[in-house]
Amino acid sequence: MTGLAADRRTFLKGLGVLGAAALVPGCATSTPSGSGASAATGELALQSSLSSEQTKAALAKMIDAYNKTGGKVKVNTVAVEIYRTQLPTYLASANPPDVYTWYAGSVANSYAKKDLLLDVSSVWDTMKNYPQAMQNLSTSDSGQKIFVPTNYYWWGVYYRKSNFAKWGVKPPTTWAEFLQVCETIQSKGIPPIGIGTGGTPWVASAWFDYLNIRINGAPFHRRLLAGEERFDDPKVKAVFSKWQEVLPYFDPKGKSIPFQEATSVLLAGRSGMFLIGAFVADSAPKDAADDIDFFQFPIIDPEVPVAEEAPIDGYFASKRAKDPEAVKKFLTWVATAEAQELYVRNSTGTVIPANPDGKSADTPLVRKGKAMVESAKELTQFFNRDSSDALQPTADAALIKFMDKPDQVDQILKDWQAAAGKVFKA
């Protein structure tokens, strides 16, 4: 599903992951025993979902550096799609791994509610310079700090500068300008808005997220995703009415191709713009890399405080970690600018250290992304990260159906509310 860019960065690998995910059901039901940590040796077991080549290597370098300072951390890497389905089992097992890579916000909070996560408030005493938004996303409902953010990326509408110049359009800032740009690109015979929902329907959620935070604002969006508002609310319908204005500009082939291919379509100039995460730039060939730029999702209602989607990755730890002090020592270290720079430097080019003192890659694209996120009044992460992986499939069904049959919006929203209601009840 959605979210973690790491594995999305490597093209085609995702297809392998699909395959691997298909093998899961057989083993998932039979063995609830933990993926064994070494209790006796005093080693910390770090369960990692950073399975793409680059992120895995970057983590290995970071852990090497930590172990040289006298730490003892052993990494166990699991393909992210399997990790996603197995994480509850890891945490609930009799002998859980100590530390986990995962997401900030409601995902972490849902485990904290079940009393599975270690209180890391003391680690946060060393993290006073972190922005308020990250603090909020790392705090559980009961007020404990349960998460340590290490890096984030951003979403935006990506395009090729050379193509925009060729078509004679400028990056829009308002909805009216955006519609105008779409109109112009379409008149050149190019589908203005690229998308790739074939096999990766979750990318459609970016459109829902952004339209909702632009029209109804981030607080409403969060309440909606927490089950405190209803999907058949007129405010949600307003989101879809706005969406309908741009639906004719979507690439009709978008529903048959996965988002990775939609990226190639954009790079090849066969679509105009693409609302996607910064990882899109990692996949570009060298000659195209400098040509890729993005603009902030257009402002629709200037009264609504500007929010941006910035998915935050980091670590949490098991409540039943064998050596909580060692865990906290490790987490204190990963919160430092030094550790995060080490990771970011060796990882893909577009992740930004969570520590404001950490230096990111010095490219115009990353500088622009960082500035956009830092100037935002509110941060959201992404649909599944702001709700749960359980709610994501309900969004996938509703949004893909809407893009196919926009005239059935009322029924779609009713069905969505019914499906979401079941998830919240569960």
């Binding site: 298909a22 039901t29 529903k255 048959s256 196919d404 499906a419």
Partner: protein
């Protein structure tokens, strides 16, 4: 009884008990509960089964599973049997054809899915062929159109299953006593009559194997659907197996998912038992 025989019976039984029977029984128990995989399960009686009646996705999945059973099962039997009849005679080059038909069985279904995804992609092989023969108007987003997605997935599943069923029937045909054909020919039976009155009755044993294989394969079909459409777009190609998986591991409603698993189990048992009982009756 010798201790060796006892060992041969009890050791596998003990292993089965731990790895098969116990989890299966647990599945039945879980189907009567609400469970998120983390907290303790709460007993809800037949609540999960009751919920199925008002669950539109479950109904779609059940309907699609029935379509799958009929189309995938029926066509693979007809296709496999037809191919076996065509290719049973030893003549030059027949081995190549048999091998060609059996090759898809060797591929993992996930690989098959990848190959067919490429066929189906916009402007891919399927679209070019249709355009080539002047049927360009029929082109659709095959896997993304709710009206075609299910059938677009059945096709690659069949592509594989036909080769498998063919091999089963080829083995069966080899076992038919040639003297029977000889006798039929002497009595003046046509080729069609020989097939109908000699070959088919002689294949009764193989038929029950094929039927069990087909029913079990249909009901557990999961990998090909999951890797091609994940049951989408918006649940239009959902099978009971894919719906079970997504409720269990995406929505983490493990109680409800177990209830779906129980339904799948009962369906498989009903079809196979029904056939076996009839087969036994005919024999006695």
């Amino acid at each position: 009884m010798s201790p060796l025989i006892l060992a041969f019976v009890f050791i596998p039984f003990a292993i089965e008990a731990v790895w098969v029977f116990w989890p299966a029984l647990q599945g039945f128990w879980l189907s009567l509960t609400d469970w998120d995989g983390l907290s303790a399960p709460t007993f809800v009686g037949l609540g999960n089964f009751h919920d199925m009646f008002s669950d539109p996705i479950f109904k779609t999945a059940l309907k699609n599973t029935a379509i799958w059973l009929v189309l995938f099962g029926g066509l693979s039997v007809i296709g496999g049997f037809g191919m076996a009849l065509l290719l049973q005679k030893e003549r030059r080059g027949v081995g190549i054809y048999r091998a060609a038909l059996f090759t898809p069985v060797v591929f993992s279904l996930v690989v098959t899915a990848l190959i067919w995804r490429v066929f189906y992609q916009p402007d891919g092989l399927v679209d070019s062929v249709l355009r080539g023969v002047g049927l360009g108007d029929f082109i659709r987003p095959w896997l993304a159109d709710p009206d075609t997605a299910l059938y677009a997935v059945i096709l690659p599943a069949l592509w594989r299953q036909i080769g498998y069923v063919m091999v089963l029937y080829l083995a069966g045909l080899k076992a038919v006593d040639p003297a029977l054909y000889e006798a039929a020919r002497v009595d003046g039976a046509s080729a069609w009559q020989r097939t109908l009155y000699v070959t088919i009755p002689q294949l009764k044993g193989v038929n029950s194997v094929v039927l069990s294989v087909i029913v079990i394969d249909s009901l557990r079909s999961f990998d090909i659907v999951w890797s091609m459409t994940r049951g989408g777009p918006y649940h239009s190609s959902e099978l009971l197996s894919t719906y079970m998986y997504s409720t269990a591991f995406q929505s983490t409603q493990l109680g409800y998912a177990s209830a779906i698993a129980v339904v799948i189990f009962i369906l498989a048992l009903a079809v196979i038992l029904g056939y076996l009982i009839r087969a036994f009756r005919e024999e006695t």
